[in-house]
Each structure stands twice: as C-alpha cells, then as structure tokens.
C-alpha cells in the first residue's frame, strides 16, 4: 500500500501527461472492443445463417472410403487404388430402418429424400438441375426454404400431383413462369412433366439456379428407383452437436454423414484467419498505447532519480523500486481500461444502432450485427494491462538499478 501511495502521487503530479496516456489506452481498449463486437457480430450472423439454411447433418448414399474389394480380402499384399464407389441405384439400403433408428436418438428432426441429377427443359431451353424429392411435411421441419418463396409457395407441393418448386434464377434461365409446365429428364432417362407452383430465392446462386423440389414419390418414379432414398438431412436442436451426431450415424450406418462444420470447413477456416488478423490489430493498438505508458513512466523515472535514491537510502530494495514503477504503468493501464470499457460499450451501442438497407442480396440487413461479449472486454483490458506492465517494467528496471550514491553525490 505504501508503494501504491507513492505511485499515485507520482502520476497525479503530472496530470496532462497522465491524461494523454490514459486516453491512449482508453482509445485502444475502446476501439478494440468496438471492432471485436463488429467482427464477432458479423461472424455470428454468418454462422447463424449457415446453421439456418443448411442441414446440420447430411447423410448421403456414399461411403467415405471405397468398399473393400474382394481382391483385398484374397491377397494380403494387394492394394487397390483409384476405385470410385458405383452409384447404388437402391440409394441408402433399408432407409426406413435407418430413419427409425436416427429418429430414436437424434436430438432434432430429420427429412429423407431422393436427390437426383437431371435436366429440366422448357420451350427449347435446357438447364441441368438437382431434382430433389421430399416429403413436404418432413422437409418443412429441417429446411428454411419455406420462407424463401417469392412466388407461389412450398405448400403447393403438399397438394399432391405433378408439381415442382424451383429457384427463381432457374426459371428465368428456362424462360418459364409460375404455372408453366416443364419437363424433367433424369440421368437414367425417365421423363416427367411438372407444373411450376413456386419460385424461391435463397441468396445462394447454386441453389437458386440449380435446385427443384418435387414430391419424393415423383422423384422415385422419375429416376425409376421405387422406394429409394439417398439423402437424409438432420436439423438439430443444438447445431454444435452436429459433428458428434454425424460421427455416430456414420459409424452405425456406414454412409458418409457430413456435419455442417465439415461441409463449410473452408469458410470456417477463413473466419479463423479473420480472427487472427483482428487480434493482431488489437495487439498493435495496445502496443501503441504501451508507448504512451512507456513514455510517462520513463519520464517519471528520470525526474524522480533523486527520490529513487532517497528511497533506496532509506531501505527500499531494488525490487520495491521496480514494483513502484510497474505499478505506475499498471495504474494508468487500469484507468485506461476502465475508461476504454465505457468507450467500447458506447461505440458498440452506436454501431448496433446504425441502420441501412441492403436489398440487393435479397436478405435485407437493417442493422449492423454486433456481439456483446464479456470476453472482448476481458481480453482488451488484459492486453492493455499486459502492455502497460511491460511499458512500466522497462524503465522501472533501469531506475531500480540506479545507484543511490551516484545521485546523492551529484546532488550535493
């Protein structure tokens, strides 16, 4: 407490310099918090969108590794490369047992469908498409597509009959409108006519240009694969459980089960890089704030050389003196952090209130997404305190080594 009292009198003795140093730290902490809130907010928003639009776990009729070849069983040394699993026309074997098993334990809902590759024709135009056969009532529970309709609706599929809903862009490319009848051709050669009963716009061009939804039974007829299911999509109550669920499903069913995290690995890695950049910038800001502290503590140690000599002659140790000046740096860092928190909070609040319209993407964004996280405040203050401790330590170490006799002799 004694050293603390002395530290306070030292920094209180130079109001303006202290104010500048405190403000330096405060601005650093404040902007770091504001920036982190914005970065984290947009990241959360992005991931939320991923989680909302994508199946959390998708099981397809593929295997992660090619099936073991008979030759491998017969000859121990044989290694076989380059094989691709043949597409099994039966899709997922025994799908209803698999669905029942999944339903029994997965904490969420699932939808089973048949996804086939084909072509859609209209008035001489042809577009390659993924034709997805689904049960509307199941699909509704796992997919957000229901909300993305610009014309018609998803419900039109429920009515039965040969209806299709497709991406708006696909319809544009075909030159077809709502109510027109298009012809779908599957890769196995089956054809069937469907009436466009709905157009959707998800914002993902791959889906808007390349997906059409029909009833599961129609897809099975089109591809001539009665009762086949090759695509099970699961929506979980807790999206973070997806990898575990996927692992368990894959282990039991043998089919490739992909969690959304795995499907978006590249994007999520980009976010990690983005965060690394953010932390680098935060560290740089703190370094600059640290210079302010270094400057003031350095000045104090120079001006207080005589006082250091007095205190050492009185019986203060080198360690005491070091602590004293580190504490002065820390006190400035602490005051700056506190002020920076207020600044950061205000900044985040202002950012969260900025409104703008971005209708081009279809999804209108009315406010900047910001995240309120205690972690940002802790981290920013932690960085600031670390930098102020270092900034105080460097001049403190020099000051502490000062030989009292040199100063006393020089002063008399």
């Amino acid at each position: 407490m004694l050293l603390f009292d002395i530290a306070i009198t030292h920094i209180a003795g130079r109001t303006r310099q202290t104010l500048v140093a405190v403000l330096g730290v405060a601005v650093g902490v404040g902007f770091s918090i504001g920036m982190a809130a914005l970065m984290q907010g947009s990241q959360d928003d992005f991931i939320r969108q991923l989680i909302d639009t994508m199946p959390h776990v998708q099981i397809k009729d593929e295997r992660r590794t090619p099936t073991r070849q008979p030759a491998e069983d017969a000859f121990a040394t044989a290694a076989i490369y380059g094989l691709r699993p043949t597409e099994d026309p039966r899709g997922i074997i025994n799908p209803y047992a698999a669905i029942a098993w999944l339903n029994a334990w997965t904490p969420g809902t699932l939808s089973a469908g048949l996804r086939i590759q084909g072509v859609i024709r209209y008035a001489g135009n042809e577009v390659g498409a993924a034709i997805i056969g689904i049960e509307p009532d199941m699909e509704r529970k796992v997919s957000s597509i229901v909300e993305d309709f610009t014309e018609g609706s998803f419900d039109s599929l429920t009515e039965g009959g040969n209806n299709i809903v497709m991406g708006r862009r696909m319809a544009e490319r075909l030159g077809a409108k709502l109510g027109d009848t298009v012809r779908a051709v599957s890769s196995s050669g089956g054809t069937r006519d469907f009436r466009i009963m709905g157009l959707f716009h998800t914002g993902s061009s791959a889906r808007d240009e390349g997906e059409g939804y029909v009833l599961l039974k129609n897809a099975q007829i089109l591809s001539q694969r009665p009762n086949a299911v090759n695509d099970i999509r699961i929506r979980l109550a807790d999206p973070h459980a997806a990898p575990a669920v996927a692992r368990q499903a894959e282990a039991r069913l043998g089919y490739r089960a992909v969690a959304w995290q795995e499907a978006n690995e590249g994007l999520l890695e980009a976010l990690v890089v983005r965060n690394a950049i953010m932390y680098t910038v935060v560290a740089a800001i703190m370094l600059v704030a640290g210079f302010g502290i270094f400057n003031i503590v350095s000045t104090i140690t120079h001006e207080k050389a005589r006082d250091i000599a007095i205190m050492k002659s009185l019986g203060f140790t080198q360690g005491d003196m070091q602590w004293l000046f580190v504490m002065e740096g820390l006190a400035i860092g602490l005051a700056g952090s506190a002020l920076g928190w207020v600044l950061g909070f205000a900044l985040t609040y202002i950012l969260s209130g900025i409104e703008f319209n971005l209708s081009a993407g279809g999804r209108e964004m009315t406010q900047l997404p910001v995240a309120w996280s205690l972690l940002h405040y802790t981290l920013a203050a932690g960085f600031a305190l670390l930098s102020s401790a270092v900034a105080g330590y460097l001049p403190a170490r020099r000051a502490a080594r000062l030989h009292p006799v040199d100063v006393i002799r020089g002063a008399t």
Binding site: M1, L2, I6, T9, H10, G13, R306, D307, A309, I310, M311, K312, S313, L314, G315, F316, T317, Q318, G319, D320, P404, V405, I408, R409, A411, T412
Partner: protein, 235 residues
C-alpha cells in the same frame, strides 16, 4: 577512544578501500581502519575532496568497498545481499545529508511515516502519532502538514533528522547536516544530534567542515586524500 573488547563495535572498518573503476581508477578512500562505538559522537573532518562523504556512504552501506571489510554489530557485510543491506539501513541506520532530500509530494508527517510504513512494525495510527511526536520534539509541531517547499531550509533539515530517527536507529549518519544552514539553525541541528547521543543513547557519525563543532564531538577523525591521518594535538 577504544570500544570494550567484550562487545563488538557498532560499525567497524578494517582496511576499507574504495576505488572507482574508471579508465583512470579513482581512489575514494584507502586502508581505513575505524571503529565506531556505541553511544559515541564521532566527527569526520578533512579538506574538500578528501573522501569524507565516500567513507560515510561505505559506513552506511550505501556503497560497497573494493577491498577490506566492514562489520556491522560484528557481522561482515560482504555476505549480505542487496535486500539484507536495505533492511539493515531501514532498521538500524538513519541518514541526514547536506541537502534535505525529502520526498517533495509528501507532507512532513508523511515523509517521516514512509520509513516506518516500510518497516511495518507499527500500526498506521502509531506511525502518525510517532511522526508528530518526532516533529514536536524538533520544534516543528506547527509544520506537520506542510510539504517541503513550504518549509525553510533549517526546518527541512530538521524534518530530515526526524525522518532519520523514525525507525529508532542505532546510528545516525550525517553528511554536513548544517552545511547549508545559517549559524542559528546549525546550532539547533547540532544540539539535536548531541542530545541524541548524550540523552537518548544513540550513536552519531557526522561529517563536518566546522572545526568548532567537530571539537565538541566525542571524537574526531581527520581525512586527507582518502586516508585517516593523526590529528596534531587539536583533537
């Protein structure tokens, strides 16, 4: 003049030498043999540059000798580390320099409280009480809450003496404590030191230019060029 053989002197220098390791080495003091006994008022005199201050810094553990030994209470200080030396200064030594050397931001009371708080033997209330008593006994009862820049030179020097006495040290080391004072203030400070020895059983080692004062001390050593030389009858 000699301390009893049964009891080690308070501070004892044996062939104490201090050489500054400059490009041309500077000898500050050379082969000093000196024992400072308990309850003794020792005066150190000598021409300017003769090494009086240097000797006092060595005796006060502010500087370490190049060779020779310094014993405090019979214990060799060579074995002590920086913290031991600091603690010895804090608990049993008090310094008064020519210049007052008070901490400018603190009041007289707080300046005196600092070494007591550092030692930590008394409560805050006891510390403040003792600080005020010390100031009162040095005739500064009305100046307790003044900062050094609000005091006269003589008053500051007496605050410095009060601070040196804060932890009730066994020895007070004073380097020309009256050097910057007028004759009246000088007398006051000298009387204070003298009273410490003769009324309160303390030991004082004082560097002074004032031969009159030096002769009023119990003993006087004379330095020339860093060596102790015999006094020609005057002492």
């Amino acid at each position: 003049m000699t301390s009893p053989m049964t009891e080690a002197p308070l501070i004892e220098a044996r062939k104490l030498t201090r050489i500054l390791p400059e490009t041309v080495p500077v000898t500050l003091v050379h082969d000093i043999d000196l024992a400072v006994g308990r309850n003794e008022f020792l005066a150190i005199t000598g021409p300017s540059g003769s090494g009086k201050s240097s000797l006092l810094y060595l005796l006060g553990l502010l500087d370490r000798p190049t060779s020779g030994a310094l014993l405090v209470n019979g214990q060799d200080t060579a074995a002590m580390d920086e913290a031991d030396l600091a603690h010895t200064r804090l608990s049993m030594m008090g310094f008064v320099f020519q210049f007052h050397f008070l901490l400018p931001e603190f009041t007289a009371r707080d300046n005196i409280a600092i070494p007591m708080r550092k030692l930590g033997r008394l409560s805050r209330r006891q510390i403040d009480q003792r600080a005020e008593e010390l100031l009162g006994s040095l005739g500064l009862g009305d100046h307790i809450d003044k900062r050094p820049d609000q005091l006269s030179g003589g008053q500051r020097q007496r605050v410095a003496v009060a601070r040196a006495l804060a932890n009730d040290p066994a020895i007070l080391l004073a380097d020309e404590p009256t050097g910057s004072l007028d004759s009246k203030s000088s007398e006051q400070v000298f009387d204070t030191l003298s009273a410490l020895v003769h009324e309160r059983g303390k030991t004082v080692a004082m560097v002074t230019h004032d031969l009159d004062m030096a002769n009023r001390a119990d003993r006087r050593v004379h330095l020339v060029d860093g060596r102790i030389v015999p006094l020609d009858g005057a002492g």
